[in-house]
């Protein structure tokens, strides 16, 4: 029963944020709701699903617990950052922004709980709408353009996912005699689903939820959205929204795999994974805008996630581990990039050099985040990215492994050039002068995220490890 509060708390918080008249108070409501959400999540995850709301529509399985944990902690970090950030941006009204933030948390939580394909879809669509509002925080021409593109591309993607959902239901109607859309039900009787409908449904759902993840070639909204949104929104999108879309895809994959079409699904995932990595690598080289750079990095890592699943076996465990690592590292990168953006009032390399001198702590965290995400030890992503490689070799997919390694190297070079140009050198003389400098409220949350990334590399707590293994087994991996 307790898991329902995970949705109720953020939604009540959203209501409170909407009703409170003072701009100063609202960020604290967001932070308080986030803290309660994380505390409750930790309690529920520790119970391992024994005492959770157990209806056929909402249930917290191991996969849901894993993603919920990641999203809840990331949101807490972002909410803590928001307190300082919205103080700096006090000239902007934040009523709608704070309401949408908590609405986003409530709806992503619903995604993790949903055991019914249509509930899952409705929740994903609701996150799309909440995100559109968040993207428009700056209310200028550029953010308007980004929001419009996101709305149109995201809406079409989510519409295709709905059609895929209906295809699957129709398959169930033909094969099982009743159009069930409950995941456990579909998995249990998957062998009786007609193959053409399963395959068609998977293609539509992959394209639909893949659009929300930002897999190439459906990624075109991503650089604009991440480039124009505040850093904290970028962090929530790259670590939270994309993760919940990946969860949706994993749930579908489980049905398709149970229907005996796992091989077909994995081939497609391999293709989209490598394509996403290749597109990201190509567009990262020579990138002059460091927030767009992070968007391409996000496309790359979504590619790694689906590649891990596409390899199967040990790759599934590595992909799930990478879900955690990617989310927290993206938190570090986007929040640090947001600080640098503020300090220079620009995100183009022409104006931004010598960040280490102007905002040493943020720039240092940005560099650390860069090394972490590109797979340098001792940070967490090193192990999950290595895990994907080992799984590729272990399953004798040498070409996939070689391409993967090559693309990782290309990304390292392309991303490194831009990151170093941002942090090294001498800051330009800035007659307008940005008063923004490092401060505790806007760096401690980033330090916490980096601490988690480091922890994932050095020591994975035993309960978390058990949860990861349970979730991997749940998906038919090891």
């Amino acid at each position: 029963m307790m898991a329902v509060y995970l949705i109720v708390i953020p939604l009540l918080g959203a209501l409170a944020a909407f009703l409170v008249p003072a701009d100063r108070v609202r960020p604290w409501i967001v932070a308080a709701a986030a803290a309660m959400h994380t505390a409750l999540t930790l309690v529920i995850v520790r119970m391992r699903g024994k005492d959770v709301y157990d209806s056929s529509w909402l249930r917290l399985d191991s996969l849901g617990r894993l993603v919920l944990l990641v999203i809840s902690i990331l949101f807490l970090i972002c909410a803590a950052y928001c307190v300082g950030y919205l103080h700096v941006r006090a000239n902007r009204p934040n009523r709608i922004f704070c309401t949408a933030l908590l609405g986003f948390l409530g709806m992503t939580t619903l995604v993790t709980l949903a055991q019914h394909l249509t509930i899952l879809w409705v929740a994903m669509e609701a996150t799309t709408l909440a995100t559109a509002v968040l993207l428009y925080f700056n209310q200028n021409r550029r953010s308007l353009e980004a929001t419009w593109k996101y709305l149109m591309i995201g809406s079409v993607g989510i519409a295709l996912a709905l059609l895929g959902t209906l295809f699957l239901a129709y398959g169930a109607l033909l094969g099982l005699g009743e159009p069930t859309l409950l995941f456990p039900d579909l998995v249990r009787r998957a062998t009786r689903l007609p193959v053409p409908w399963v395959r068609t449904a998977f293609v539509f759902l992959l394209v639909g939820y893949g659009t929300k993840m930002g897999l190439a070639p459906m990624h075109t909204w991503k650089p604009d959205a991440y480039g124009e949104a505040p850093g904290v929104v970028g962090a929530l999108l790259a670590g939270g929204l994309t993760t919940s879309a990946f969860l949706a895809l994993l749930r579908i994959y489980r049905i398709v795999d149970a229907a005996g079409q796992g091989r077909f699904a994995r081939e497609l995932l391999l293709f989209f994974g490598l394509l996403s990595m290749a597109v990201a690598a190509a567009l990262m080289i020579g990138q002059r805008d460091f927030k767009r750079l992070l968007a391409y990095s996000s496309i790359e890592h979504m590619g790694i996630l689906v590649l891990g699943i596409g390899i199967g076996g040990a790759g599934i465990f590595a992909a799930l581990l990478h879900v955690i690592n990617n989310a927290f590292t993206k938190g570090v990168l986007f929040l640090a990039a947001g600080n640098i953006h503020r300090a220079f009032k620009s995100k183009r390399l022409e104006d931004v050099t010598g960040a280490l001198r102007r905002v040493p702590l943020s720039a240092g965290l940005f560099v650390a985040g860069f090394f972490a995400i590109t797979g340098s030890p001792p940070f967490g992503p090193f192990f999950s990215e290595l895990g994907v490689l080992i799984a590729a070799i272990g399953s004798h997919r040498y070409i996939v492994g070689a391409l993967y390694l090559l693309l990782l190297a290309l990304v390292f070079i392309g991303m490194g050039a831009t990151v170093l140009a941002v942090v090294l050198g001498v800051p330009p003389d800035d007659p307008a002068g940005s008063a923004f400098r490092d401060s505790a409220s806007k760096t401690i949350p980033i330090l916490a995220a980096l601490g988690l990334v480091l922890m994932m590399g050095i020591w994975i707590p035993a309960p978390l490890s058990a949860l990861l293994h349970a979730a991997a087994r749940f998906l038919g991996g090891s």
Binding site: E125, L129, A159
Partner: protein, 211 residues
Amino acid sequence: MPPIADSILILLLLMNFFILGTANLRAAIRAVALQGLLLSLLPLFVESTLTFRLVALVGATALIKGMVIPALLLKALRDVHIRHEVEPYLGFVPSLFLCGVGTALALLFADSLPLAPAERASLFVPASLATLLAGFLVLTTRRKAISQVTGYLVLENGIYVFGLLLYQAMVVEVGVLLDLLVGIFIMGIVLNHIQREFSSVDTERLSRLRE
């Protein structure tokens, strides 16, 4: 399926061509509204017993797809004071031709899928896919933001047709409709802001964000 349902579906397909072929934005929105009203009648032919759910679904669809959303769009059209021409990227003749090809392909593809005996002869599946394609065409080939929303609505109408095959299972159709409504509402707000910022709802102006 009774022949009336198929007649409605054929009307729906003809509306697709009309929406793609008309140069008048207002007429296109009215056509989408008519599509919405036609769709709202379809559940009556899928389900024979008159239940509360059936009435609610027919009412909600007619209200949301046939009236509220088109009214919102027409209001947006009045507010932004734009010329009411569609201005496509792709000419009318090529887009009508593509729509025709798409409709034919939808018929072929639907034929290759295993269908329940009741639906094998009816037009539900091909009409759904063809409408989806037509919506996608409108969405991608039109310059004005309002036209793109119109295309999105046509696309959603196509999906709705398929959803009717699953009448028994679609427990949350109203949730889906509400999502659509909120989505269009937000699109409307963004449209308004685009108009205010750019003095135009021409998406060609939305081209600052490039590599």
